[in-house]
């Protein structure tokens, strides 16, 4: 398991592979923060700025894409115990 980073920069779009990637492992705290923010009803623009480090005023499309794809990936990795089984496994 790659060590998770607390506040890493993110790619424009989250991974879409059917297996857990090194990117997922590094960004697992980012995923948890996104899930918690959604649960608390936070404004996605504030989440994009604070968690994803993308300014939604300057780059609205990039910010929204990154937010939506990372939140979807966060949900995917937490389903079916995927995170528990680690990278490389199906």
């Amino acid at each position: 398991m790659t060590k998770p980073q607390l506040d890493p920069d993110v790619a424009d779009v989250a991974p879409n592979e059917l297996a857990l990637t090194a990117y997922d492992e590094q960004h697992v705290v980012t995923y948890i923060r996104l899930l918690q923010a959604e649960g608390q009803g936070a404004d996605w623009r504030e989440v994009a700025r604070i968690v994803l480090h993308i300014d939604p005023e300057r780059e609205p499309d990039r910010a929204l894409n990154a937010y939506q794809s990372h939140l979807a990936r966060a949900k995917w990795v937490t389903e079916e115990g995927r995170l528990l089984r680690g990278a490389g496994s199906k």
Binding site: V28, V29, I32, R33, G39, V47, K75, E79
Partner: protein, 64 residues
């Protein structure tokens, strides 16, 4: 139980060196879809037992 705050990366420091099982659980517990599913499952389960489908969907297993 650590109190996480999504605005503050430092509040997640305990996860930096945590076991993956712990991290996985924190991720699951923050997932609103899981929370809704859990509430619905408990409401429909008179004995509080977790259904097989629920276990499969969320990958939870309970040790005897």
């Amino acid at each position: 139980m650590p109190e996480f705050d999504w605005r503050s990366p430092d509040s997640f420091k305990s996860l930096e060196n945590a076991e993956i099982t712990h991290i996985a659980w924190e991720g699951l517990r923050m997932n609103v879809d899981y929370q809704r599913d859990y509430e619905a499952m408990i409401a429909n389960s008179p004995d509080g037992e977790v259904s097989e489908e629920f276990r499969r969907r969320w990958g939870i297993c309970f040790r005897p």
